[in-house]
């Protein structure tokens, strides 16, 4: 049996990239007290809008910018529903996901009705011939810029402390002069931007095209990773790499002759089962953010 360790490690970083973006986006919302189950739809919208605008506008950077804008819009919608209107967060999130997926599928059918797969320009790997380092720029941005930045902002800046205060004890934060509404809006919009960037990575870096099952539950995986990581940036990143490694390993096994008899679908399911197993092992007795799932109203 020969499995290339280098290839697995390289693929791990690539596969983890959309999860890193998505999970960090989810952390921002949840640390501010809002669980954003719109993540699956927001990643889907980022993937589709990035693809669409790249196709019509001709540049991946324009496409990425449009995906970012779609994520900000999705985050603002989620904030409108949960912060301003005070809808139940589970319902608002699932509804947002259903609406975004349906809207993208609808637009896809209206604009690309021919049925032939449309290919768009895509990002290329840096240093294509070096296995582990030869990643997409967005992968390094996720791991070396966005991750550390999110950790630093949440831990050491005034903005991060206000965000955490709003998520732990909004009443006290309000008394201290912090705007709960504005803080949650910013957190959800920034979170949406990160989620949509993760989705755009799928179309604009990995695939160079769009298919209707492109996100296939990665958003839900991100939500699980955040719980697994107990809302910490580094632990959540570790979870994303764990999922990436499981997925990279199953991809390698799928092309290894000794595993030729194992159904492909079973292998694809392994990373999801790994995440559930990780939750079982490390997910007990978790302390959630103080204001998790609670809309804030001045008494």
């Amino acid at each position: 049996m020969s499995i290339s360790l280098i290839a697995v490690l390289g693929a791990t970083l690539t596969i983890a990239t959309p999860l890193v973006f998505g999970a960090l986006g989810a952390i921002l919302g949840e640390r501010a007290g809002v669980l954003n189950l719109g993540i699956e739809g927001t990643m889907y919208a980022g993937a589709f809008v990035g693809f669409l605008v790249t196709d019509k506008g001709g540049s991946v950077w324009v496409g990425l910018g449009a995906a970012v804008a779609s994520g900000a819009t999705a985050g603002a919608l989620m904030a409108l529903l949960t912060v301003t209107i005070g809808v139940n967060q589970h319902v608002a999130g699932i509804g947002t996901t259903l609406a975004l997926v349906a809207a993208c599928d609808y637009a896809n059918r209206v604009l690309y009705s021919t049925g032939t797969q449309v290919r768009v320009p895509k990002f290329s790997r840096l240093l294509d011939d070096v296995d582990i380092v030869g990643q997409y720029l967005l992968t390094w941005i996720a791991l070396l810029v966005v991750g550390p930045l999110a950790w630093w902002v949440l831990r050491s800046t005034g903005a991060g402390m206000r965000l955490r205060a709003v998520g732990e004890n909004p009443e006290a934060a309000d008394v201290a002069g912090i705007s709960v509404v504005a803080t949650r809006y910013v957190a959800l919009i920034m979170g949406g931007v990160l989620m949509a960037t993760g989705g755009a990575f799928l179309t604009l870096a990995l695939l160079g095209s769009f298919t209707i099952d492109i996100v296939s539950g990665r958003g839900w995986v991100c939500i699980a990773l955040v719980i697994f990581g107990r809302w910490g940036v580094w632990t959540t990143l570790a979870g994303a790499l764990l999922f990436g490694a499981a997925d990279a390993l199953q991809l390698q096994l799928a092309i290894t002759p000794e595993f030729g008899d194992v159904p492909n679908e079973l292998l694809i399911a392994v990373p999801y089962l790994v995440v559930i197993a990780a939750l079982v092992i490390w997910g007990r007795g978790i302390r959630y953010p103080g204001a998790y799932l609670r809309p804030y109203r001045r008494a």
């Binding site: 189950l37 319902v91 509804g95 947002t96 637009a107 539950g217 679908e265 939750l279 997910g283 109203r297």
Partner: protein
Amino acid sequence: MGFVGGGRDSGWRASAAAAVAIVLTFAITAGPIRGAGANPLTAYRRYLVTPLTSAFSVQEVLLAATPLLFTGLAVAIAFRAGYFNIGAEGQFLAGAIGATVPGLHLADLSAWLALPVALASGAVAGLLWAFLPAWLKRVAGIDEVVTTLLLNPVAVLLLQGLLNGPWRHPESGFPDSATFGPGYAMPVLVGSDRVHAGLVIAVAMIAVTGVVMVFTPLGLRLRAAGQSPDAARFSGIAVARLQWTSALVSGAVAGIAGASQVLGVQHQLTGSIAVGYGYTGIVVATLGALSAGGVLVVGLLLGLIGVGSQNASLVLQIPPQMGDLVTAVLLLTVVSCLALRHYRFAGRRRAAAAEP
């Protein structure tokens, strides 16, 4: 923001909220419908009126509503007890797979035995798919939202794996199972071509649930556990056990939904069954206010929109995904308007005086 608590609930406010939500849904979806080159009013006539104008299409509406009545009921049972089962999709698929096992491997059973066996098998499969998240919630306090969600893509993979592997069609080689034994066809209702007994089972289960919820102590305890778990616990209700039971019953009902769909419509297992009946069940339950009557009404309404969107896609070339978009937007606008009805816009002075 400019809202303060208004407190009292009244019937006309809820009705007004629903009316505003419907107008908003129309306004939001009109643009995309125009984008497909159709007139929104014509399109909505197709969605809401055309399916009711012929006996044939009314039957199609009932057929389309059948799985939604089941999944809506399944979700409502769990949500009522405060257990957020968002995995009805996976449990539905597990139920379809469960019913397929006897359908293929005990193909010679006679009808009076075959259907109960297949439905029971579907119920057990749905229950098993719901078991792990419910068990993790009970013994380790792990959030059921995440675990039920994660098992949905796993169920899709299980379905695909079975269809590409052991259950691949023996003659055509396509990833569809063989046709079930002759005893496994759900009886068709009198006077109809395709509406099957699944509809009767769904309506009966909704009726039973409604009676239990409204008239029995169990229903009262369930509602208490869902609405105010702390108060329920204080008054001696075993909240965790109630949630555990509702979670498993919810999974079993979703499983029966999947079984009813393969036994009543497809008569074989195909990948086309994974079109989101479980997720739509969340919409049905929420819009139906988690009540039995509400599930019945909303399930039929979404069945109507489903048939109408197929019709509009044939006649007006509006992609059928508009039906899903209308459904999702309706969910968001209704829950928003219902939440807002408790608030009134406040002038500066009144805001200061308003009580919570």
